[in-house]
Amino acid sequence: MTGRADAPRRSRFTRRKLVPYLFVLPNMVVFGLFTIWPAINGFNISFYDSANGRTFRPVGTDNYHRILGNDEFWTVARHTIVFVVGFVVASTVLATVLALLLNGQKRGRGALSAAYFLPVVVSPVVVGLIWNAALQRQTGLVNSVVSALGFGQPAWLIDPNLALISVILVGVWVHLGFYTMIMLSGLQSIDSSVNEAATIDGAGTWQKIRLITLPLLRPTTMVVITLATIAGFQAFDFIFTLTGGGPVGATTLIIQYIYENGFTPPIAYGLASAAAVILFLVIFAVTFLNYLVGRRTEAM
């Protein structure tokens, strides 16, 4: 840039220095106002309580004392953890298997991928309504298959344990296509010569998958696990129309707890904001842990 030092006036030079800031400005204003500032303020408001969401009074660490002694919160926390673990494990395993199968498939791969990806684009609210119909005990599609296979008519949405399992299964159904495509992208970035060399050395398909593909796929797997963990903690919209959090709170997860305490009467703003901070810390810790594990496995 000094090559043009003979011509430029000083104002031109300072303008040039300002340019990058002008480019980032619009994004950072929106981002700062609606993400960064609220994220910081979130900690602040967790030390206030409000019965109506308009007038606030400072309560110190009261909200945290109350929420940690709140049975309902612990029930919600337990269900959320069961959901997240079930959801992350099931979607990661299924996405890996599907990606391996799709990667080997030449004919019709495009159409098959599209089919698996389709649920990703469907509105979660509608997903909940459709699966609510499909999981009905006597009029649902699922039980007409299940009972034909001789397993009777499980009460998917009525039995509390089955309801949580149903919510996990529907969550997996929603996100599986997305994670599968990420896994597929990881698989396709693996150098094919490694596998060819193994074939020449006489390795079988299963041996190649277990000893070559899966270890090389580990960074991608960590990406999927991280994304799935965050998505799991966020799960709300499809559950809202699938079970509404029921039966008797069996599928009320943390976001619904925050939403209901923060926005629907009777408002317990303090509990909601403390729960949000706890959730934030948990997501942060888990993501950091995933990152560390990813680092370790990359180093190995």
């Binding site: 340019v19 990058p20 480019f23 980032v24 619009p26 994004n27 950072m28 929106v30 981002f31 609606f34 993400t35 609220p38 994220a39 303020n41 408001i45 599907l98 199968l101 080997g104 498939q105 030449k106 004919r107 019709g108 098959l112 991928s113 089919a115 698996y116 990806f117 389709l118 990703v120 469907v122 509105s123 509608v126 309504l129 459709i130 119909a133 499909a134 006597q138 009029t139 649902g140 599609l141 039980n143 007409s144 159904w173 296509g177 597929l184 992208s185 396709q188 970035s189 965050i230 966020q234 709300f236 919209d237 976001i255 925050i258 703003y269 904001s273 949000a276 934030f280 997501i283 993501t287």
Partner: protein, 296 residues
Amino acid sequence: MTARLEEPPRVVAPPTTRWASTSGKTPSVGAIARTTVLIVGAIIVVAPLVWAGLSSFKSQAELAAQPPTLYPHDFTFDNYTTGLAAFDFPRYLLNSTIVTVAATLLTLLINSMAAYALAKYNFRGRDLLFLITLSAIMIPLQVILLPIYQVVSSLGMTNSLLGLIIPPAATPTGVFLLRQYMLTLPDETIEAARIDGAGEFRIFWQVVLPLCRPALAVLAIFSVIWRWNDFLWPLIVAQDESVQTLPVAIARFAGQQAIPFSQILAVSVMSIIPVIIVFLILQRHIISGLVKGAVK
């Protein structure tokens, strides 16, 4: 006859080549098993959607049938006509369309501007801004729901479409994705435009953005899916019916005791058809965009 015995028998391509088109060999047991598993899996995944679509043409009585029917035996459009009479579909469709289009354009504009500065300029604070953007990918909007709502309400943007369009527009994922793509653009192109005397914004608009079309397309598609399907944020901000989007309006419609499920189903099916059509048209680009490392 004997003379011909020396000739090797002609290899006739087996009729089953259709199965393994690339190699032309007879498919192995493994290949058949794999294809079968994939097809069965795809049917399981798509079945609920197809069943719901077909069910929306069933009569109310048939919807209550035990066991359920697979396809409508007496085909009827009643659910759609009564559903549209009870549910102001055009209004919510308009709201959803305005929010989706405006938010996506805004996202593409401000994300790409920020990404360009982060990728192609050296300036004080750049690394810090990038780090903050990266760490914000971890902060889902759901987690900071209450404080964002406070900001939006103090700006007077509740119960307005602006409150649905602006807050989620500065997606960190979009900035990240576009920055990574812009890093691969050669600096020489930008330098050449500069020597030709083009202004900085003109270079961005006429040189950089056209080169980023593939990455912009991926972000646009995702933004459309996100904004069209958004639920929790609009549920809180758009309490007034006049500004509700389709998901919020449908959830409210479904929550009313007096509304028969047949109508809810018809309205739901109508609401997902636009996205499904867009997806089916663009699916090749969406999936290849994703698989070709939009994630890296």
